[in-house]
């Protein structure tokens, strides 16, 4: 049997006594796409960081085409042909696509990028076009790379990897920012790479995609490899069971109770990317919003929450059955007082504060835990944070622990706790489980359902259709700023929703 292109054996890494990778073996052949799977904290990111030279290993070997390689820093990784694309693709804004592709390229036999230090622009443009063509892309290479679509940026980054003769490509959640259509583009580019003999390690929480695009898989749990094999031999349920270490019989909580009176009433709402939207959400009901990225789904949430102005229409929140209209000029704080709370989409960017769990949980409700109106009461702050910490089952050493040292799933719970504290009548969740492991996802679904059962009207935006179908009572589909259909979550399916997302209506 031929030697695998990339062979990792006995890879071990620990931080301050905590073993995050424990003698992990992994191989990838040329032309193979191997899924690297596991819950948050399973060791995937550490493995990737070691391959890309960001983190140093404690023990173990990395072999490339049979030869042992030392990866001490990012330059080494590039030189031996391992390229890593992170979820947020590294693009240099202000430089053209061509410059971004040829960034860090050294003159070699095939391409001379400069003559005596003077840049050969024509050569750079020609070569970038060539590389993009290999990926089936036809981008304007003179365009500012920052103006590219998310998939354009991904393609630019892949082309850069190719220009550096990458033989192993590590893709870390590459589809997180992509629409389904863009995801298809990426997958066909990956097919071209496979036929060129590039080995790909594919990391994603989206198991439907993994099944579509990968040929083999490796599951890590608590830093150790638990199972590997061919994708053809498994199904999603068994992968989830392997990742979680226990059978996940019910990821989604049972639907409960009958919805009450209308809590949120939206009429003819218009604004950036949203046109004439009508929407009712009843107390105790969970309504999902589906749609491609850019369809206006997140904008609805932001307008309802007061984070973005709406130009027309009416939003009212019912208090004891009596609807009271909200003013268009309201900011986030006013809307929160009116009973509307939004858990924002990007946890890192818009969610966590680089501070303790207690600080994070209490930031939205500081006024409640004061003496003399302005002076905070430590005991009350701690008591409040403790209670939420317990009821959301946040796994940590205590409320004084720094949030950034928690796993992604627990960080998300901390952010949820902050908005739970507001006890909103209308709860808006934008991608509530992005980058969260399966076990925690299931816990979050249960928490959301429990919230609804207490009489909160819940609106959920998600790009994962199974999540909307499993969690919600009704799903509304947005297409180019308009609501194009409403579906009963109990009877609809992914195909139906997907068609509606593309504006093809009911079948």
């Amino acid at each position: 049997m031929a030697e695998p292109l990339l062979e990792i054996s006995g890879l071990t890494k620990s931080y301050g006594g905590v073993t995050v990778l424990d003698h992990v073996d992994l191989t990838v052949d040329a032309g193979e796409v191997r899924a690297l799977l596991g819950e948050n904290g399973a060791g995937k990111s550490t493995l990737i960081k070691i391959l890309s030279g960001v983190v140093s290993r404690d023990e173990g070997d990395v072999r490339l085409a049979g030869a042992r390689v030392d990866i001490t820093n990012a330059h080494d990784a590039r030189d031996i042909g391992i390229a890593t694309l992170h979820q947020e693709v590294a693009i240099v804004p202000g430089l053209s696509v061509a410059e971004n592709i040829m960034l860090g390229h050294r003159s070699d036999d095939t391409v001379r990028t400069s003559t005596l230090g003077v840049v050969r622009w024509r050569e750079i443009r020609r070569r970038s076009r060539e590389l993009l063509a290999e990926l089936g892309q036809d981008l304007d290479v003179d365009m500012d790379a920052d103006r590219l679509s998310p998939v354009g940026k991904t393609m630019t980054a892949i082309a850069r990897a190719l220009s550096q003769n990458a033989r192993v490509l590590v893709l870390d959640e590459p589809t997180a920012a992509l629409t389904d259509q863009e995801t298809n583009q990426l997958f066909s580019a990956m097919d071209r790479l496979r036929s060129r003999g590039v080995a790909i390690i594919y990391v994603s929480h989206r198991l439907e995609e993994v099944v579509r695009v990968c040929s083999t898989y490796t599951v890590l749990r608590n830093g150790a490899k638990v199972v590997e094999g061919a994708i053809a031999d498994v199904n999603i349920d068994s992968i989830i069971t392997a990742m979680a270490g226990r059978p996940v019989d019910t990821i989604f909580p049972p639907r409960s109770g009958t919805p009450g009176s209308v809590a949120l009433e939206v009429r003819q709402l218009s604004g950036r990317r949203v046109r004439e939207l009508d929407l009712d959400v009843r107390a105790g009901e969970i309504v999902g919003i589906a749609g491609l990225a850019g369809s206006g789904r997140s904008e609805i949430m932001r307008m309802l929450a007061g984070a973005q102005r709406h130009r027309g229409g009416r939003i009212s929140v019912a208090v004891d059955g009596e609807g009271s209209p909200l003013r268009a000029s309201d900011g986030v704080a006013r809307r929160q007082r009116a009973g509307v709370a939004l858990v924002p989409q990007e946890r890192r960017a818009d969610g966590v504060l680089p501070d303790s769990i207690e600080h994070n949980i209490n930031v939205s409700t500081l006024r409640r835990h004061t003496v003399l109106r302005w002076v905070t009461s430590r005991a009350r702050l701690n008591g409040h944070a403790d209670a939420l910490h317990r009821s959301l089952d946040i796994r940590s050493r205590g409320i004084s622990q720094q949030v950034l040292t928690l796993s992604g799933g627990n960080q998300q719970k901390v952010v949820l706790a902050r908005f739970w504290a507001l006890a909103p009548r209308v709860l808006l969740l934008d991608e509530p489980t992005r980058g969260v492991d399966v076990g925690t996802k299931s816990e979050i679904y249960a928490l959301v359902r429990a919230r609804a059962a207490e009489g909160t009207a819940v609106l959920v935006v998600s790009s994962e259709l199974p999540e909307l179908i499993g969690l919600c009572d009704r799903v509304i589909v947005m297409h180019e700023g308009r609501s194009v259909g409403e579906f009963d979550a109990r009877t609809t399916n992914e195909d139906e929703l997907l068609n509606a997302c593309y504006g093809r209506g009911r079948q």
């Binding site: 960001v54 140093s56 404690d58 023990e59 001490t72 704080a333 939205s364 302005w374 002076v375």
Partner: protein, 339 residues
């Protein structure tokens, strides 16, 4: 190449060395070592009450006030380069009310002290509010906004006093309070302590302080949590303006002279003090105890070096190299954390 010499195959974890646990003790330890070192070298001139209290602590009281309010601005993630200009402006105006002779030298009746202090605080508040409005509501970068306004405030002050120091501020107990002592300790130390304590209280024990840390930590997250980030930032700058004015006023009372050039070093020194405090305490966030420690540390080194035969310019070289040295370990630790 970045010159790192890590050998991956043999590197073990970071062992039992936990930077965050020993960090709170580093600053006091450095202070003790420094006092011990200079005390051993110069027991007669360094280790005396008059040197430690009057030459070290008293000398930094005004800077301590300014650095305290600089901390507030840095907590919200900005900085204020105009503290010197604000202090000059506020004291320039106050002094021309309190002086017993006009700028031209014609004797005059000194004005009301209460009115002078009120005017000084008002000038600081308005100046700080303008800075805050520029940065927070109009979106100008703090660097250029406060740098330019520093020149504006400073030259308005010079215009007011015609570029000369204002002498003769001895009426109305103005100077007597600042130069006086209570229980053998200069009054300025009490004043600085009280102002620092108020700032600490605001940052640590009020909803405003919590919101300031939230804004400085992650403005977008703070906004989605219902914090009015513009108002919070604006307030920080306004507080900074008032504090800078009070610092300047106290300094000119102590010197019995309002000099528009005296507050100039405060811009750099106050920011350096906050950075020292960030390096020494509380996970690298700006914090009041750290800032005060930074101010005292810097002054102690300065004073100790003053006793040596080292060339004056080289003394400053050492002082500022020490600042760089102090902020290095946390910076390196941050890089290490990710390896």
């Amino acid at each position: 190449m970045n010159g790192t010499t890590t050998t991956p195959a043999t590197t073990t974890g970071s062992g039992g060395f936990d930077m965050s646990r020993i960090r709170p003790y580093l600053g006091p330890l450095a202070l003790v070592v420094m006092v011990g070192f200079f005390g051993a070298l110069y027991p007669d001139t360094f280790l005396t009450k008059s040197n430690l209290v009057d030459n070290i602590l008293q000398q930094v009281t005004a800077l301590a006030i300014v650095a305290s309010v600089q901390t507030v601005v840095m907590v919200v993630g900005e900085f204020d380069l105009s503290v010197g200009g604000l202090a000059a402006l506020a004291t320039g105006f106050a002094a021309t009310i309190l002086n017993t002779a006009t700028i031209e030298g014609v004797p005059k009746e000194a004005g009301s002290l209460v009115f002078a202090v009120f005017l000084c605080v008002l000038a600081g508040l308005i100046g700080g509010a303008i800075n805050g409005a520029l940065v927070s509501y109009l979106g100008v970068l703090a660097f250029i906004a406060t740098l330019a306004m520093n020149e504006v405030y400073k030259n308005l002050a010079r215009y007011r006093v015609e570029g000369k120091p204002v002498y003769g501020l001895v009426e109305n107990n103005f100077v007597a309070v600042a130069q006086g002592r209570t229980l053998g300790v200069p009054n300025t130390i009490y004043i600085a302590f009280v102002i620092a304590a108020i700032v600490w209280f605001v940052l640590d024990r009020t909803t405003l302080g919590r919101q300031m840390y939230a804004v400085g930590g992650n403005p977008d997250a703070a906004r989605y949590s219902g914090v009015n980030i513009k108002l919070v930032k604006w307030t920080a700058f306004a507080i900074c303006g008032v504090g800078a004015a009070l610092g300047g006023l106290m300094q000119s009372a102590y010197n019995a002279t309002a000099n528009t050039t005296a507050p100039e070093p405060w811009m750099l020194k106050s920011i350096a003090a906050v950075f020292l405090g960030m390096a020494l305490m509380r996970n690298g966030r700006p914090n009041l105890p750290g800032t005060i420690l930074g101010v005292v540390l810097f002054r102690t080194l300065e004073n100790g070096l003053n006793k040596t035969d080292i060339n004056n310019y080289l003394q400053d070289v050492i002082n500022w190299l020490a600042v760089v040295l102090a902020v290095l370990p946390p910076a390196i630790a941050r890089i290490r954390e990710n390896r």
